[in-house]
C-alpha cells in the first residue's frame, strides 16, 4: 500500500516542556486515521510540524516518497488546523480563489466544493459574516480544492453546536467514502470511533497505542466481584493463570482477564476454593474505558 506520511522519532520541545516525544507512525493510503489524545497531548503540535508551521526539535518526517520538499508536498494535501483562518474582508469564493492560486490549481472547482459543504448559496457573502459552523465548512471546502491525497482535520467539531457537529461528521464520512485518506485529530473518543479505521493514541507527546480501532477494543474483558472476604478472594484469584491485574476499590474487586474465560467457569472455580460471591459481573471494556486506562497508566 502506498505510504502518504512517514513520521520518525519526531520530537518538539518548548523550553523544558516536551510537547511531542519521539513519535513515530506511518499513514497509508485509503484509511481513515485518528490521532486521539486529551487536550494538550501534542496532537496539534505534531500536525503543525508536518504542516510546516511548527519547527521540529529533532527527528524527521516526509510526505509521500520523500522526493518533494514539504511545501511542494503540501499542495497535494488538504488541511485545517483548529480555527478556520481566512481573510475576513473577502467573500467565500474570493478566499477560495486565493487558495487556488497558492496551490496552483484551476478555479473551476470552487463551486463544486462549496456545494459539497452546503455553502454554495453563500459564496458571495463575506467571511466575517459567517457563523463558526459555516467557517469550519468553508475550511473543509478549501482543503478539498486540490482533490487532496490526504485530508487533515484538527478538532473539526470543536466549539460547534450539535447540529454543526452532525453536519461536519456527515461531510467527513462522505469524503471518506470517496476514497480520500483522512487524518483526524480529536480528543473526542466517539468521534474517532465513529469515523476512523485506525487510531494513534498519544498522551503528553508519547505514543501509547497505534493500530486498528476494532483491534484496540478486542480485550478479553474483566470481572467485577464482591465478597465479604476480599483479601482472601484476591489471594485465590492471583493463583489463577487466566487472571492478570487485580485492583480493589472499596468493596469492589476488579480482575482483568489475560485470556478468555466465562463467568460460570470463574464461579465454579471460586466455589471449589470455598469462596462465596455476593456479586459477579463480566464486562467488556468500552473504548472509552480503554482510552482512559491507556492515558492514565503513564500518569501514575
Amino acid at each position: 500500500m502506498e505510504t502518504i506520511l512517514t513520521i520518525n522519532q519526531l520530537t518538539k520541545r518548548y523550553g523544558s516542556l516536551t510537547a511531542v516525544n519521539n513519535l513515530s507512525f506511518t499513514i497509508k493510503k485509503g484509511n481513515v486515521y485518528g490521532i486521539l489524545g486529551p487536550n494538550g497531548s501534542g496532537k496539534s503540535t505534531t500536525l503543525g510540524m508536518v504542516l510546516n508551521v511548527v519547527n521540529k526539535t529533532s527527528g524527521d518526517f516526509h510526505w509521500f516518497d520523500g522526493s518533494d520538499s514539504t511545501h511542494e508536498a503540501l499542495k497535494k494535501v488538504g488541511a485545517i488546523i483548529e480555527h478556520p483562518n481566512f481573510y475576513p474582508y473577502m467573500t467565500a469564493s474570493q478566499n477560495l480563489a486565493l487558495v487556488c492560486k497558492i496551490k496552483g490549481v484551476p478555479k473551476n472547482k470552487i463551486d463544486e466544493k462549496l456545494e459539497i459543504v452546503g455553502l454554495l448559496d453563500r459564496k458571495d457573502s463575506k467571511f466575517k459574516t459567517f457563523s463558526l459552523g459555516m467557517k469550519q465548512r468553508l475550511a473543509i471546502a478549501s482543503a478539498l480544492l486540490n482533490d487532496p491525497e490526504i485530508l487533515i482535520l484538527d478538532e473539526p467539531t470543536n466549539g460547534l453546536d450539535p447540529q454543526g457537529i452532525h453536519q461536519i461528521r456527515e461531510i467527513i464520512r462522505k469524503i471518506a467514502s470517496m476514497g480520500t485518506t483522512i487524518l483526524l485529530a480529536s480528543h473526542l473518543l466517539d468521534e474517532v470511533e465513529k469515523v476512523c479505521t485506525h487510531v494513534v493514541i498519544i498522551r503528553k507527546g508519547i505514543k501509547l497505542y497505534s493500530g486498528r480501532v476494532d483491534e484496540m477494543n478486542a480485550s478479553n474483558g474483566f470481572f467485577e466481584l464482591k465478597s465479604n472476604d476480599l483479601v482472601k478472594l484476591q489471594q485465590i484469584l492471583e493463583e489463577h493463570p487466566s487472571i492478570g491485574k487485580i485492583t480493589v476499590n472499596e468493596d469492589l474487586l476488579t480482575a482483568i482477564l489475560e485470556e478468555p474465560m466465562g463467568a460460570d467457569d470463574l464461579n465454579s472455580y471460586l466455589y471449589q476454593k470455598g469462596m462465596i460471591l455476593s456479586y459477579l459481573v463480566k464486562r467488556k471494556e468500552s473504548l472509552e474505558e480503554q482510552f482512559l486506562q491507556l492515558t492514565n497508566e503513564t500518569a501514575k
Binding site: 503543525g48 504542516l51 510546516n52 508551521v53 511548527v54 519547527n55 520538499s69 511545501h71 511542494e72 508536498a73 503540501l74 499542495k75 494535501v77 488541511a79 488546523i81 480555527h83 483562518n85 481566512f86 481573510y87 475576513p88 474582508y89 473577502m90 467573500t91 474570493q94 480563489a97 486565493l98 487558495v99 492560486k101 497558492i102 496551490k103 496552483g104 478549501s142
Partner: protein
C-alpha cells in the same frame, strides 16, 4: 515571480482600506502640481511659488522627489498592516499549510513592495515631466534629463523604507504597535543624534558620520531638503550674512547603505519567520 505577485495582489484587491490608502497616495503624488497655485500676498511682497524656479529643470527632480517622499507614510500604513494582518487573521499559518513556503511568502511581500516603489517612481517621473514642461524656463532635452540621480535616489529610498515597514510588520505582528514602533525608532534616531551631537562630539561631524549608518537617517540623507537651494531663500540668507554651502548631491555610498539595509531587512524578515512557531 508572477504567481507570488498575483497572490499578494489578490489579498490587497479586496481590502477596502488598503485600496483607499493606495489610491489616496497616488492621487496625492499627482497633486504636487497644486503647489504651483500657492501664492503669497504679504502687502508689498507678492509672489507665486511656481515663479520662484521650483519647477525649473533640473531642480524639479530634486524638489519633487523630496516632496513626494513625504507621502510614503500612506503606503507605510498599508505595508505594515498587510504584514501584521497575516498574523492577526492567522492567515499566514493557513498560507503555509496550503503549500506556500516561508521564502515564497516573504518574496511575495517583497515583490509587492518593489512594485509600489516602481509605480511611485514612474508616477513621479510623469508628474514632474508634465509640471516641468508647463513651468520650466529651460526645456532643452539635455537639461530636462540632467540630475536624474534624484529619481534613482527616490526609488532606493522608498524601497528601503517599505522593506523596513515590512520587517517591522513581521517583527511586531500588530499593525498599530508596528506603526508606533516605526515612530519610536524615528524618535530614537533623532535623540541619539542629539546626544551624540551635544554630549560627546561637540563641533565635529562625527555624529553625522555615525548616524548615516542608521536606516532612517540613511534614507533621508539620500535626498536632502531642497528649500535652501531656492533663489529667494539664498538671497534672504546672504542678506542676514549667512553662507549656505550644503551638499545637495545624491552619493553612491548613501545609496549603498540603504541598499544594504534593504537586503538586511528582507533577510531578517525571512529569518524571523523561519525561527518562529506559528
Amino acid at each position: 515571480m508572477l504567481r507570488l505577485l498575483n497572490i499578494e495582489l489578490h489579498k490587497l484587491r479586496y481590502n477596502r482600506s488598503a485600496k483607499i490608502l493606495i489610491s489616496t497616495y497616488f492621487i496625492l503624488i499627482t497633486f504636487i502640481a497644486l503647489i504651483a497655485s500657492i501664492e503669497f500676498d504679504l502687502g508689498p511682497i507678492h509672489f507665486r511659488l511656481a515663479d520662484q524656479g521650483i519647477f525649473n529643470f533640473p531642480f524639479i527632480w530634486h524638489f519633487n522627489s523630496y516632496i513626494a517622499a513625504i507621502l510614503k507614510l500612506f503606503l507605510a500604513i498599508v505595508i505594515v498592516s498587510m504584514m501584521s494582518n497575516e498574523y492577526s487573521h492567522r492567515t499566514l499559518k493557513q498560507n503555509l499549510i496550503d503549500g506556500l513556503s516561508k521564502k515564497e511568502f516573504v518574496l511575495s511581500k517583497f515583490i509587492t513592495v518593489l512594485l509600489f516603489a516602481v509605480i511611485s517612481t514612474f508616477f513621479l517621473l510623469v508628474v514632474s515631466l508634465i509640471l516641468g514642461y508647463s513651468f520650466s524656463d529651460f526645456t532643452e532635452l539635455s537639461i530636462v534629463f540632467s540630475d536624474m540621480e534624484y529619481i534613482m535616489g527616490y526609488f532606493i529610498k522608498l524601497l528601503g523604507f517599505f522593506t523596513f515597514c515590512m520587517f517591522i510588520g513581521i517583527l511586531i505582528k500588530r499593525s498599530a504597535f508596528a506603526l508606533g514602533f516605526l515612530f519610536i525608532w524615528w524618535i530614537f534616531e533623532n535623540i541619539l543624534y542629539g546626544v551624540l551631537n551635544f554630549r560627546f562630539f561637540r563641533d565635529s561631524d562625527i555624529p553625522e558620520q555615525i548616524m548615516q549608518f542608521f536606516p532612517l537617517t540613511a534614507m533621508s540623507n539620500i535626498v536632502v531638503e531642497p528649500f535652501s537651494r531656492l533663489n529667494f531663500i539664498k538671497t534672504a540668507a546672504t542678506q542676514i550674512g549667512e553662507e549656505l554651502d550644503k551638499d545637495y548631491g545624491v552619493h553612491w555610498y548613501q545609496l549603498l547603505i540603504v541598499i544594504i539595509w534593504t537586503v538586511i531587512f528582507v533577510y531578517l524578515s525571512l529569518a524571523l519567520l523561519k525561527k518562529r512557531d506559528l
